[in-house]
């Protein structure tokens, strides 16, 4: 199974029930799909569940895999839909007013500042804390994007997929991808400027 394409692996899975081929697909996509789901959901534990769910659905629906599509496109599509389903379920459960949520958010950001700043010595632990802090803030900012903008932003910025591919994954026109990417990017730029994060984070 040296240099089989993803699609060849899928075909051995479908035609011969080759589970080794399926395992190989998991190996190939473990890193990228797990991180995609993790970034989309913002939670490690949920990401584990949804990663399993994604491959469960890939396996279950293997026979409906359309060979006109690249495997990666199809897999990302299934993962995205699993994430969206989960997010809908969560919003139904939570029903916390948005503003309240944001307030809690901001105060937690501020709290972290206080935790880090009192120690004036540039110890490596402190550097690590600051680094972690920046990462957390970026994570929170990206997660604050509306669902639709977030999906496109993560697929483009972190998964480094071309817009054409993103359009196929999300089944939306190319123009819509571009406009969502623009608005997502812009919203983040504005937030970062507003919060003065650019100076703080350097």
């Amino acid at each position: 199974m040296n240099i089989c394409s993803d699609e060849q692996l899928m075909s051995s899975l479908i035609k011969e029930g080759d589970m080794k081929a399926f395992e190989e697909l998991i190996t190939r996509y473990e890193q990228s799909l797990f991180n995609f789901i993790y970034r989309y959901m913002g939670d490690f534990h949920t990401a584990q569940d949804l990663f399993q769910e994604t491959f469960y659905l890939i396996f279950k629906n293997r026979k409906s895999f359309n060979s006109d599509l690249r495997f990666s496109t199809w897999a990302y599509r299934i993962a995205t839909n699993a994430c969206i389903d989960e997010l809908r379920k969560k919003t139904r459960e939570l029903e916390v007013p948005l503003e309240e949520n944001n307030l809690a958010h901001e105060s937690s950001l501020r709290f972290k500042d206080r935790e880090v700043n009192p120690n004036p010595m540039g110890s490596s632990l402190e550097e690590r804390l600051i680094k972690k802090d920046i990462e957390e803030k970026i994570k929170d900012l990206v997660n604050s994007l509306p669902e639709k903008l977030k999906a496109v932003f993560i697929l483009s910025e972190y998964q480094e997929l071309p817009c054409r591919e993103i359009a196929k994954i999300l089944e939306i026109p190319l123009g819509t991808v571009k406009s969502r990417l623009h608005h997502g990017f812009k919203q983040l730029v504005e937030l970062i400027k507003k919060k003065g994060l650019i100076n703080e984070l350097q």
């Binding site: 473990e30 569940d49 399993q52 279950k60 990017f185």
Partner: protein, 231 residues
């Protein structure tokens, strides 16, 4: 072009979503406008910040978990055309038993997806019962301990006549019902079944005395001792 328009174009330029023509236009403007060069520099710095959110490593056992889940699915798929009674329950249960409670929702899904709702629920029921029996095979003395081992949060109140009033809170079966948008009644049935199962191990009669329709995960059982043996 006003400032906002410029910023919009620079964002698109940086995101790599401009058509050739526009990109050329932006580039030729940049070569002669220092203000826009600074703007672009600033945007680039912001874009670099995004990369500070670095990838994580997936847990090492993730792949084996996926494969484990599928084993059960393939097993059930192979046999789903036959009648439920022909499925080797031992095989299914052997796999199910290994699962932890937090995976019950997945188990429920796997079963109902592949066997259909009715059959799937039957197997799931059977699974729960088996799991309970296993838990009960060496019955602990305190009801709280049993309840906790089943993931239930129980408040126990001993009344004067020896009857024990048990209030079940945070019932995972009921939160499961909410999650699956199921009616809550099958879950109450599971709770009742669990309570009834105790009758096999303790000289008690268990009845459901109060069920709240507000799905808060709360029901109350009364366990009345049959023989008046002191505890």
């Amino acid at each position: 072009m006003n400032c906002n328009e410029k910023e919009d174009l620079l964002i698109d330029y940086l995101a790599g979503i401009l058509e050739h023509e526009e990109r050329d236009r932006v580039e030729s403007h940049l070569s002669s406008c220092q203000k826009c060069q600074r703007r672009l520099g600033e945007l680039k710095e912001i874009k670099d910040l995004f990369k500070r959110w670095v990838p994580v490593s997936p847990p090492p056992d993730l792949k084996s978990k996926v494969m484990d889940n599928l084993k059960a699915l393939t097993l059930i798929e192979e046999k789903s055309n036959k009648e439920l009674k022909d499925i080797s329950m031992d095989d299914v249960l052997e796999w199910l038993r290994k699962r932890v409670k937090s995976e019950q929702i997945r188990i429920y899904k796997v079963l109902t997806d592949s066997l259909g709702r009715e059959k799937g629920e039957k197997v799931f029921d059977y699974y729960l019962e088996e799991q309970l029996k296993e838990q009960m095979s060496a019955p602990p003395k305190e009801v709280q301990i049993i309840a906790r081992s089943l993931g239930l949060d129980v408040e126990v109140e001993r009344q004067e006549n020896g009857t024990v009033k048990e209030t079940i809170r945070n019932c995972p079966y009921i939160s499961m019902a909410n999650e699956l948008s199921m009616k809550v009644s099958p879950c109450e049935a599971i709770c009742l079944k669990m309570a009834k199962l105790r009758e096999r191990f303790y000289p008690v009669k268990v009845e459901l005395v109060k069920k709240l329709p507000n799905e808060e995960g709360l029901c109350i059982f009364l366990a009345t001792p049959i023989a008046s043996k002191p505890a």
